[in-house]
């Protein structure tokens, strides 16, 4: 192929390839904004929505732009506790993003190890791992969450544990299925013939070749984790109600959707949508750039 042979540092080249898609740049800008908001939430929020002392139930359910009795204006309105929606969204973003990313990373790491080990070693190891995966996958998320809630109590760390418990098996199975195909290829055979250590074969040779499908799944799963957290919150199994994530804000506002107080659910919904969309736009392009097989 007519590949332009330009001399560039790998990072410059990477950036050029990434920047080829304008849509991905928009996604990156949005993601940067979202991350900045998440990090800076305590600085830029008009109110600390988790500090109950700053809330006033008398200001509850104000419409966007309405001013409270004390003259404060809430640009995106307030929820049923008098929580400023704008601040709530800033902080909620922080929690949702954190929970989504943390649980995906842990679940991915665990699933990856189990999936690779199962595929590489085969035999009874494979059988054992896959049966555990079967159990895990058929256990309903809400039952797991309920048990964990009963045993561990409520909190951000606990919800991450719950999400990881729910999700790792999914990765394990995906990894295993692509690793099974990869394992049959010659380069693994070659690596084995070279008598490389097994860990080295698994992680240096098998792993990188199983990654592309996994990246697709993982980006979807960050979004999935955020949505799952929202669903658990909807079922009353999520985060403490005083420290709402985007999902909890949405589910709290959910009951007001039919009654016309749309903003309690609508704006967090938009924030969630933008966040997940940004993650995916960036991830899509990253995948294309990182995947040598897709290079033009």
């Amino acid at each position: 192929m007519a590949e332009p042979a330009r001399v560039e540092g790998p990072w410059v080249r990477f950036w050029h390839e990434f920047a080829e898609s304008r849509l991905a740049l928009v996604g990156l800008a949005l993601l940067a904004l979202v991350v900045a908001i998440a990090i800076l939430a305590p600085v830029i929020s008009p109110q600390n929505p988790y500090d109950l002392a700053q809330l006033d139930v008398m200001d509850s359910k104000l419409a966007p732009g309405e001013a409270s009795g004390t003259g404060k204006t809430y640009w995106l309105g307030t929820d049923d506790q008098g929580r400023d929606m704008l601040s709530g969204i800033y902080y909620g973003l922080r929690i949702s993003l954190g929970v989504g990313i943390a649980s995906t990373i842990f679940a991915l790491a665990i699933g990856l190890v189990f999936g690779l080990v199962a595929a590489y070693f085969g035999g009874w190891v494979d059988t054992l791992v896959m049966r555990i995966v079967d159990i895990q996958l058929s256990f309903p998320a809400i039952l797991i969450a309920l048990v964990l809630l009963a045993v561990l109590g409520q909190g951000v760390d606990k919800i991450v544990v719950a999400l990881v418990t729910v999700q790792w098996a999914y990765y394990a199975r995906t990894v295993r299925s692509s690793a099974l195909v990869e394992r049959q290829k010659e380069y693994i055979e070659a690596a084995r013939v070279l008598a490389l250590g097994q860990a080295r074969v698994v992680f240096r040779h098998l792993l990188p070749n199983c990654l592309p499908p996994l990246i697709v799944v993982a980006t979807v799963q960050v979004a999935h984790a955020i949505a799952l957290e929202a669903t658990l919150s909807f079922l009353g199994l999520g985060l403490p109600i005083t420290e709402p994530s985007l999902g909890l804000l949405i589910s709290n506002g959910f009951q007001y959707l039919l009654s016309g107080k749309y903003w309690i659910s609508f704006y967090p919904g938009i924030a969630l949508l933008v966040t997940i969309m940004a993650i995916n736009l960036v991830a899509d392009q990253l995948r294309d750039v990182l995947n040598p097989r897709l290079r033009k």
Partner: protein
């Protein structure tokens, strides 16, 4: 040799329109090949030889596009054909064989499926008679017990066998032109030789024209009748194999010949052409080889026109190598 050639390519241009700019992958390429003749297309990787092959097949994908020239096959200009007419030619009257036999066969389809579909895409025949032809085709390329092998999957074949299957598929409809894109590069040397020999034989027997694309001049030397040397999307020199190899005119051809290990000059280090192939992206006008050429002069900033230094020879250089 008389009459019009079977396939003639004239002034072919194929450009990629990327976001970063225009890549002139094929830039004013002309050649022709007659029945039973073998044409070698030689050049380093990135010289546009494969793209020329794909252009003739009508397999150019966006952002690539044919922007000029004619491809006349059996009296028809292919560039004017619509997509479906072109498709009916492909695999039927013009066939192509790819470089890597490990990748060209679909791993999840059985061999019989892959051959039969080629036959049935072009002829309304029953599955049974297509299977019979498939068996013949396999036998013709020297695959033992073709009946059994028909029901196998590609991964059950060795590399050489896979390439034979690919060749069988290319030949199954008795094409008039075969474009072979480095089909032996990925194989080991003994099998290379066998396949080269067999291809040559098959072409002579069937009277098909063969375009052999390779980076390896030595392959061409024993195989082809004519040769086109390509550089940066252009044909820089062409002629009969004997003449071009005996008496290269273009400095690039010369360099290529010098870099081939030769029996007479054992012990002497191989001479390499200095420098690298230029990026084809927004290539400046002028001779693209001038950066690497010992003979380059100020004149080379202009594109040299095609000259005909001898009957049947064509050249694109201001400073040909002295004979």
């Amino acid at each position: 040799m008389s009459g019009p050639p079977l396939l003639s390519v004239d002034g072919l241009r194929m450009h990629f329109f990327t976001k970063a700019g225009v890549v002139k992958a094929v830039d004013d390429v002309s050649f022709s090949v007659g029945r039973g003749r073998i044409l070698g297309l030689v050049g380093e990787s990135g010289s546009g030889k494969s793209m020329t092959g794909y252009s003739v097949m009508g397999l150019i994908d966006p952002p690539g596009r044919l922007v000029g020239g004619r491809i006349v096959f059996d009296g028809q200009d292919l560039t004017r054909l619509d997509a479906s007419a072109w498709r009916r030619l492909r695999g039927n009257r013009i066939a192509m064989i790819f470089q890597d036999p490990m990748m060209t066969l679909n791993p999840v389809l059985r061999i019989d499926t892959q051959i039969v579909e080629t036959i049935r895409a072009h002829a309304d025949v029953s599955r049974e008679s297509a299977l019979a032809r498939a068996r013949e085709a396999l036998a013709r390329v020297g695959i033992p017990s073709p009946d059994e092998r028909l029901r196998a999957y590609p991964h059950q074949f060795s590399g050489g066998m896979r390439q034979r299957v690919a060749i069988a598929i290319a030949l199954v409809n008795h094409p008039d032109v075969i474009i072979a894109d480095e089909p032996t590069t990925a194989l080991d040397v003994t099998i290379q030789g066998q396949i080269l020999f067999e291809m040559q034989k098959l072409c002579r027997e069937t009277g098909a024209a063969l375009i052999w694309i390779t980076h390896d001049l030595s392959v061409i030397a024993g195989l082809a009748d004519e040769v086109c040397v390509m550089y940066a999307g252009r044909v820089v020199e062409s002629g009969t194999v004997a003449e071009v190899i005996e008496r290269p005119l273009h400095p690039y051809t010369r360099g290529l010949i010098d870099s081939v290990p030769s029996r007479n000059e054992r012990g002497r280090p191989l001479r390499q052409i200095p420098g690298m192939t230029p990026s084809l992206l927004e290539l400046a006008p002028g001779c693209p080889f001038r950066e690497r050429c010992a003979r380059a002069s100020a004149a080379c900033a202009e594109s040299p026109a095609v000259t005909e230094p001898a009957p049947g020879r064509r050249l694109r250089c201001f400073h040909p190598v002295d004979a």
